[in-house]
């Protein structure tokens, strides 16, 4: 583990001026960054663009990497800010167009391979604040540890816990908001054990 870290540090040092080392660094971490961005966007072409932007930015700012956290965490932090910036821009544009349509801020183009439950959750997440989206994806789908989430989101452990609690509350509310009144009443009275929106069939019927 220590050797790996030393190797990575050496590689980062070399990547400052050596193209091959930079390529090696990209190859090492490309898959993880691509996967994270894909899980956030569910859009293949957008994922490729954002991953490219992330790595180019990381290479340009490599000199400012302080090595306080692993390189991959630093890159994921950059990726998070690029994703959030993109979503913010899209939301602003939609707001500017006075779109009353309460659609998701991202249009997944490739949905065939994606689990239906994930798609539903992803759709609900689109209506939540960006920090809530980030924390839920990192915690439940990227399986990152609190320490890593802290580094990626630039928060303290308490901050992460609070944000996660609020994010779950907001997601629960968002799901409840989207279910029909009868479903909601049944759920409220405890007659419904399962969350109605988790069932893709039911979700399809509603929409």
């Amino acid at each position: 583990m220590k050797d790996m870290k030393m190797d990575e540090n050496k590689l980062i040092e070399e990547a400052l001026n050596n193209r091959e080392a930079a390529e090696k660094l990209i190859s090492l971490h490309y898959r993880e960054v691509y996967r994270y961005i894909y899980r956030r966007t569910l859009n293949k072409s957008l994922t490729e663009d954002l991953t490219q932007e992330t790595f180019l930015y990381a290479l340009e700012h490599l000199a400012s990497f302080r090595r306080k956290s692993p390189f991959i965490i630093w890159v994921l932090k950059i990726a998070t800010s690029f994703i959030n910036e993109h979503f913010r821009k899209v939301r602003k544009e939609r707001k500017g167009l006075n779109s009353k349509e309460n659609s998701s801020i991202n249009d997944p183009e490739e949905e065939l391979d994606v689990d239906a439950k994930y798609k539903i959750i992803h759709k609900h997440l689109q209506h939540l604040p960006l920090s809530y989206q980030t924390i839920i994806i990192l915690k439940f789908f990227e399986n990152k540890k609190t320490k890593e989430i802290c580094a990626i989101m630039g928060k303290t452990p308490i901050g992460v816990r609070v944000t996660l609690h609020r994010a779950l509350k907001a997601l629960k509310r968002e799901i409840e908001r989207s279910v029909t009144d009868s479903d909601f009443l049944r759920l409220y009275n405890g007659e419904e054990k399962e969350w109605p929106t988790f069932s893709p069939e039911k979700q399809g019927k509603e929409r």
């Binding site: 193209r19 930079a22 898959r31 991953t51 700012h61």
Partner: protein, 284 residues
């Protein structure tokens, strides 16, 4: 009381418990969802495209990085410089402003309590304390409390021959001495001596007396005494010059208070010989 379910009232406590259970359920379900894996082939192709881009633009990336470092240095320097400039400005402007405001407070306090206007240059500022000489008295003003702390009378001090001569020279050349106002008043009956004389000085009507004021030149008057004075807080010396002249009413003398440092008369007055004290004389 809320709705009943299975005979149990729906209490907030139950709601809290239910919320907690729902949250746990949501977490459990989130954990059970399989996160999507991007297509391996797509990801590999995208990586290849990125590596190709890096290959062509690597010198540009290095150049960009240097530019970023340079920009950061310039920015850091600009920030440090602006902080220093602001600190310098504050260190010069704030004390000056504080002194000005202290002087203004002292000025207002003296004007309110003593009905005298003092010049800024006559004031000595020491923190919240302002010391100023007003009508031959040293007034100490506490600007924080906006009140006069104490009024000090001048204390006798010895004068050197040089200081004495300078005081006389200032006295002889002062416009205040050359145009000294004296009131023309009706003399009271004294030992059967009645009539208008410049020796009787009981003012019967102040307005009338002012109307009848006349100016005399006392620059050639006979100097009776030259005494030195100083104040507890001030370092400057003052000279009190008492003169007698035929132009003054009988038995009266004029006393002038000379600021030796500024080379001018700060106050002057007239009264029965030997009774005019510098601290009690009026400004002409």
């Amino acid at each position: 009381m809320g709705r009943k379910r299975n005979g149990q009232p729906f209490l907030p406590k139950n709601k809290e418990r239910r919320d907690k259970m729902r949250k746990e359920e949501l977490i459990r379900q989130l954990k059970s969802i399989k996160a999507p894996e991007p297509n391996e082939k797509d990801s590999l192709q995208a990586k290849e495209r990125l590596i190709k881009k890096v290959r062509t633009s690597f010198p540009k990336i290095i150049q960009e990085r240097r530019m970023i470092i340079m920009k950061r240095r310039v920015l850091a320097l600009a920030v440090v410089t602006s902080i220093v400039v602001v600190a310098l400005i504050l260190s010069t402007v704030l004390p000056a402003r504080r002194v000005t405001s202290a002087k203004q407070i002292a000025k207002d306090v003296i004007a309110k309590e003593m009905h005298v206007t003092v010049d800024d240059e006559d004031m000595i500022v020491e923190g919240n304390i302002v010391i100023v000489t007003v009508n031959g008295k040293e007034v100490t003003v506490d600007t924080k409390e906006a009140k006069i702390m104490k009024i000090s009378m001048p204390e006798p001090a010895s004068l050197t021959e040089e200081e004495r001569n300078r005081a006389i020279e200032i006295f002889r050349n002062s416009p205040e001495v050359k145009n000294f106002p004296i009131p023309v008043m009706t003399a009271p009956p004294e030992n059967g001596d009645e009539g208008n004389k410049n020796g009787g000085f009981i003012i019967t009507d102040e307005d009338e007396a002012i109307e009848k004021e006349k100016y005399v030149d006392l620059s050639n008057a006979t100097i009776v005494s030259v005494k030195g004075y100083t104040f507890p807080n001030g370092k400057e010396k003052y000279a009190s010059i008492e003169v007698q002249s035929d132009l003054l009413p009988k038995g009266y003398s004029a006393t002038f208070f000379v600021d030796l440092k500024k080379g001018k008369i700060v106050s002057g007055g007239m009264g029965p010989s030997g009774s005019v004290k510098p601290g009690f004389i009026k400004k002409p």
